[in-house]
């Protein structure tokens, strides 16, 4: 677990810069995928919810450093979504791509719902049209989770870190 923090911090930092600076220049259907969330989710699916939640926490902190949102909001949204995906993962066939796609869809919906609740409570809102505009994000995450998952799987196989169970 300890080593993973040191890996997660720079990786998520780099992804946060890409998320805030590079991805907005290349929007797909008006939205940009939440790269940090997808990486945290893929890590959770590969290495278990314990490490996934830690990665989601770090990812959220990085996102909020570039955002108007108070620090911690994204961490909460990401952790609840990754936790929900981990719970559903138990009843789905393990390591099947279809399961991963379903989990990405579910986790994205949960993460958006939590974002919405928290940000509305903090005085930021979104219209019904805005919610419709965010729907392509769901599709985008479903499409992107597979290459991200496979990429991280191959990286893990290459470096073969020893899984740590708490």
């Amino acid at each position: 677990m300890g080593i993973n923090i040191y890996i997660a911090i720079p990786i998520m930092g780099l992804l946060a810069v890409i998320q805030a600076v590079v991805l907005p220049r290349f929007p797909i259907a008006g939205v940009t995928p939440q790269l940090l969330f997808l990486v945290a989710l893929a890590w959770s699916l590969l290495r278990g919810p314990q490490e996934g939640l830690l990665w989601a926490f770090i990812a959220g902190i990085w996102v909020d450093l570039f955002s108007m949102a108070p620090i911690g909001v994204s961490s909460l949204a990401f952790m609840v979504a990754v936790g929900a995906a981990a719970l559903v993962q138990k009843i789905l066939p393990p390591r099947r791509l279809l399961s991963i796609i379903l989990l990405a869809g579910l986790a994205t919906l949960v993460y958006l719902a939590i974002y919405l609740i928290l940000l509305t409570a903090l005085g930021h809102g979104i219209s019904a049209n805005g919610l419709v505009e965010l729907l392509p994000l769901l599709l985008l995450h479903i499409l992107l989770i597979v290459p991200i998952y496979l990429l991280m799987q191959s990286l893990l196989r290459t470096f073969r870190p020893r899984p740590v169970e708490l």
Binding site: M68, V73, S127, V132
Partner: protein, 284 residues
């Protein structure tokens, strides 16, 4: 058996610690107690962000050329048609301009024109949160930027500085729900409050008196009331009016002049003359 319980406890403890930290950070940051710490963390990020932004611009420019060739041909045809319309309109405007220049000279003699002090800033990033709408600029506290300063692009008002670090600032767009700007309509001179409606919706002007016959197309400018924005900054045009005789006020939906998806450079208005409200402080 005991080992299993200990493991379980550690798991719950880790989980509680992570969620507890996130909630604590949210509360502390919302109340502004984390400002110094977050500024300390955000400051070094600006250099990396600016560097990445410049490289991304280069790559985006190189990629957009060949890919958009067919789109460009269609665009040329559309622009040629538009050019003819604009040429006719231009002749009409030249007449109006002649009249306007006379009036302008008279007006300049009669009134002092407040000089706005502006700082040019590059847009180096956007809010990574899909629900919030803000941009990150490469000028900050060290350049004289302060929270609340108005930010405008070449075509119109963009929003207001929301957060400042030493070398960068976050600008909340006027479409954000937290945004409230006192405005005036160009023709009817009616005043109201422009409020953002969040992602996916256009901002609206509330509290317009029913006695004004507001029409779509009317120019929307800042009124300067409240002292947070200078007068006469262009915001956009009225797109539609929601008027109900049973109510005391009417609402107008506004199409902002600035294209928020294509802003590359902005002006931060650092100093301006506020509307004189001393008359309200005088004793009768």
């Amino acid at each position: 058996m005991n080992l299993g319980r200990t493991e379980q406890r550690i798991r719950w403890l880790t989980l509680g610690l992570l969620f507890g930290s996130a909630i604590l950070l949210t509360v502390l940051d919302s109340t502004g107690l984390l400002d110094r710490v977050t500024s300390f963390v955000r400051n070094p990020l600006v250099g990396i962000t600016s560097w990445t932004s410049e490289r991304t611009d280069t790559v985006a420019g190189a990629l957009s050329g060949p890919r958009n060739l067919q789109t460009a041909l269609g665009e040329i045809e559309r622009l040629q048609a538009e050019n003819e319309t604009l040429a006719r309109e231009n002749e009409r405007l030249l007449e109006i301009q002649a009249q306007y220049q006379v009036l302008q000279e008279l007006f300049n003699r009669a009134a002092e024109t407040p000089e706005l002090r502006r700082i040019i800033a590059n847009v180096i990033g956007q809010d990574p949160n899909p629900i919030l709408q803000s941009i990150i600029i490469d000028k900050g506290f060290d350049d004289g930027i302060r929270v609340g300063m108005p930010v405008e692009a070449a075509r119109g008002l963009v929003g207001q500085v929301y957060r400042v670090t030493n070398q960068a600032a976050q600008v909340a767009l006027l479409t954000e729900t937290a945004s409230a700007i006192p405005v005036r309509l160009g023709t009817t001179r009616a005043t109201g409050m422009l409020r953002g409606a969040g992602r996916g919706a256009l901002p609206t002007i509330d509290w317009i008196d029913l006695k004004y016959q507001v029409e779509p197309g009317e120019l929307v400018i800042t009124s300067g009331l409240g002292g947070k924005f200078p007068e006469n900054l262009v915001i956009g045009r009225v797109l539609s009016v929601e008027r109900n005789e049973a109510e005391l006020f009417q609402r107008a939906v506004v199409q902002p002049a600035a294209d928020f998806d294509a802003i590359e450079m902005v002006f931060v208005v650092t100093d301006f003359e506020t509307v004189d409200t001393d008359v309200f402080n005088q004793t009768p």
